[in-house]
Symmetry: C2
Subunit: 463 residues, 2 copies
């Protein structure tokens, strides 16, 4: 509290002199750390879904107890330099990592395909330890944007970077980024060489896919480098502490913790034949309620909080400078795309646990700025159960997919997914929330653009 008083006097006096917003001192104290926690797709609908399910409708999430809350404007540049109003995880993570607004699909590259030095790379160059932890493949857009540079997010391994077929559609790849063309290589190839001390998540398959010309995989390329690659969670705490550590605990993304009962997600309401002829007639049957239950595929997957603890343990060894750690709860978004609210909720629980780990770390490392934010908004909406118009003698129902979740207290929370009828929902364009611990007070304004989140972190670390 005395620290708060001194800080207040500092900003008040500096305000008297300059009449400018408060800024962090230019040169950082040591050790000074940033933990950036990204909930992919973790917009205000998902925050509220998480609160209602995990803490109760009158409860508080851990993030709700943080003293700083801001709104972040998500920005994307179109191919013709006009703004586009909805982003993806590649361009937004690139903006968070570099402070530069770019085009959808780009990983660590500008709209003119320049490689952008990321905050993790600059932190490393300045002597900070660095870590990237994600529940996705570590080659996926968000983690990749902090440690690699390709023109298109699909270029995750040495095969696909040369083009081919992706998601059953022809894909041009990123030929200019391929090593055979003098580029830095695919995301997996760049990751094994990246100046990041700890990289934990999924994505093993991209490290075992070989370059069709040389026959080499990213793991083979790593053999001559001072990096341990582990795939067994039991090895996490036993890896050589003098080497960089890459832990890959699934072939693709890490499995999610929860699923809907019987594997069910959101479903289309079932309408009578008469209603199909005229929306005012006939009847509708809503999908049966579902419960959230453990996902059997989760098995012994290491939790995101555990991975965060391991990363922090390693990064604080022999470290007087500080650290930059990015942790992503990736599948809030992925499960929203495929309309599985229980899947998203389990990953919000994982994000909450990571925040708790970060707050515990900050207790013994007081110069730690913890920022929790989202990259972009998503499709899910909490809608009334029943409809606001339930008394009207007309069948009223979502034209999309709905899941009626049985909450711990027995009430029903209904989630709507209706941005398209395809197998994967669209992102949406709302500004996203940002939460920060007390160290962020005075540094983070109530409203900022996504590139400015990067700037706050970089300024705090003196980068």
């Amino acid at each position: 509290m005395l620290r708060a008083l001194i800080f207040c006097i500092f900003i008040s006096i500096s305000g008297l002199i300059t009449a400018q917003p408060a800024e962090a001192p230019a040169s950082p104290h040591n050790p000074r750390s940033v933990i950036l926690i990204i909930g992919d797709g973790f917009d205000d609908q998902h925050v509220t879904m998480g609160r209602n399910f995990l803490a109760g409708h009158d409860g508080e999430l851990v993030i709700d107890t943080l003293p700083v809350r801001a709104a972040v404007q998500v920005q994307t540049v179109g191919k013709d330099t006009q703004w586009v109003y909805v982003a993806d995880s590649a361009n937004t993570a690139t903006t968070l990592a570099t402070g530069v607004t770019t085009q959808m699909g780009r990983v660590g590259t500008s709209a003119t395909d320049e490689d952008l030095v990321t905050i993790a790379q600059r932190a490393n160059a300045a002597g900070f330890k660095t870590g990237i932890v994600s529940s996705s493949s570590v080659t996926d857009a968000t983690p990749a944007s902090f440690m690699s540079h390709v023109s298109s997010r699909g270029c995750e391994n040495p095969d696909i970077i040369l083009g081919g077929e992706l998601y059953s559609v022809a894909y041009e790849g990123c030929p200019q980024d391929a090593t055979v063309n003098g580029g830095p290589g695919s995301i997996a190839e760049q990751i094994v060489k990246a100046p990041i001390d700890v990289i934990l998540g999924g994505g093993l398959s991209h490290f075992t896919t070989s370059d069709p010309k040389s026959g080499k995989t990213a793991i083979m390329m790593a053999e001559s480098l001072p990096v341990s690659i582990v795939t067994d969670p039991a090895m996490l705490t036993q890896a050589d502490s003098n080497q960089r550590l890459i832990g890959l605990f699934a072939t693709g993304h890490l499995p999610v913790r929860l699923q809907g009962s019987d594997g069910r997600g959101a479903e289309q309401p079932d309408t009578s034949t008469l209603n199909k002829l005229d929306w005012r007639l006939g009847s509708v049957t809503q999908p049966d309620p579902i419960k959230c239950e453990p996902n059997p595929a989760y098995g012994n997957t290491p939790g995101l909080a555990k991975l965060t603890e391991v990363a922090l343990d390693r990064l604080t060894q022999d470290n007087d400078t500080g650290l930059f750690l990015m942790v992503e709860s990736a599948s809030i978004d992925k499960e929203s795309h495929v309309r599985n609210p229980c899947g998203s909720l389990g990953e919000i629980a994982q994000l909450e646990e990571v925040v708790s780990v970060a707050l515990t770390f900050a207790q013994t490392h007081p110069e730690t700025l913890i920022i929790v934010t989202s990259d972009h908004a998503q499709a899910a909406q909490i809608i009334p159960e029943p409809s606001l118009y339930a008394d009207i003698p007309v069948p009223v129902y979502s034209p999309g997919h709905v899941a009626r979740l049985i909450m711990p207290d027995g009430s029903l929370m209904t989630i709507n997914y209706a941005t398209n009828g395809f197998v994967s929902e669209e992102h949406t364009g709302a500004n996203v929330p940002l939460f920060a611990n007390d160290v962020g007070q005075g540094l983070i304004p109530a409203f900022l653009r996504q590139r400015e989140v990067h700037d706050v972190m970089a300024s705090f670390l003196g980068l």
Copy 2:
């Protein structure tokens, strides 16, 4: 800034002593004022739509410049006392006005049908001047909840309170609230008697509807009271300053400022016959883009900012105590219900103008707490233009209604409405944003429940 320093020292020292969150001094200074600005349905999707359209995608709204931003958990009690996760404007306005969580549809009454004294009524009793301004009928849920008490929001006039038909459906009314049954009367009847100094908005028809038994209208009941009722905007500044003022400038809600070109709102994408047979086949034609243009019906309707200025002028005459003023931009919500994004955007512009008026007022009345918030989230979503999956050889489109807005810079912002297929969209359940001026710093935490917004205002006024 010196004030900020003193404030910081105050909270820091009080924190040292009590280790409790900072609180306002128990007894208010004089004059001390609260201006509560409610954007109905003004959730983060609408905030972002407004920012993109009014300030530009890289710009800032007036609310974005306010130093305090928080998230508000919207809460509603069901008939069986279980939580329900989506609210309406009646129960949320009642919570903001009284600090009590209640059931949908209730106006100034608890879940057990008790009449709840509102902050406006308590402010009046404590000597503050009070005002209610809305772009809806002043008998509509939000304004009504600050100055009247009925069990159901439809009971706006002395006829319907006894039941009948509302929106072509049988309606039970609020017979226990009717004057013939010893109750306080319909909302219009209560408003003419309410201890509110200035009431401005629409809703004249409810004041000219007669009680079927006595034949009296609310306006006739007002004849013996010290209240001026004006319907001509030119009379706004000429009304007797020694009387209460009720200004009613439309028979129903005030017309909105903007509409879509050719009166168009969101429309359903047009799909080919083949696509109707199988979602993977055929083609889709998206609705033509639309521009936002002035609504001819708006005519000489007084703007919400003008009404706010008039209210503040009257409320500050001979006033050493302070004031409570609630201003609602009502039709952000109403236009979202009927899928008219241009309509919502024009009303967001009006809200912005009201915030500017309030900030100007606060310059000469420094003990003014300005809070801008929403009552509940709404259906609109900004979705990608084109789809994220535009490269997939399958028609991908919203199952609901979309409007492709031509922005001032020529880019397209697409808005999706897809919570139902009825003539009016559903509300949604996300927490809503709250913005406050510097006076709110230290008083408003980063996260609060809607009832606590009331508590902050009441505490600030010493009520």
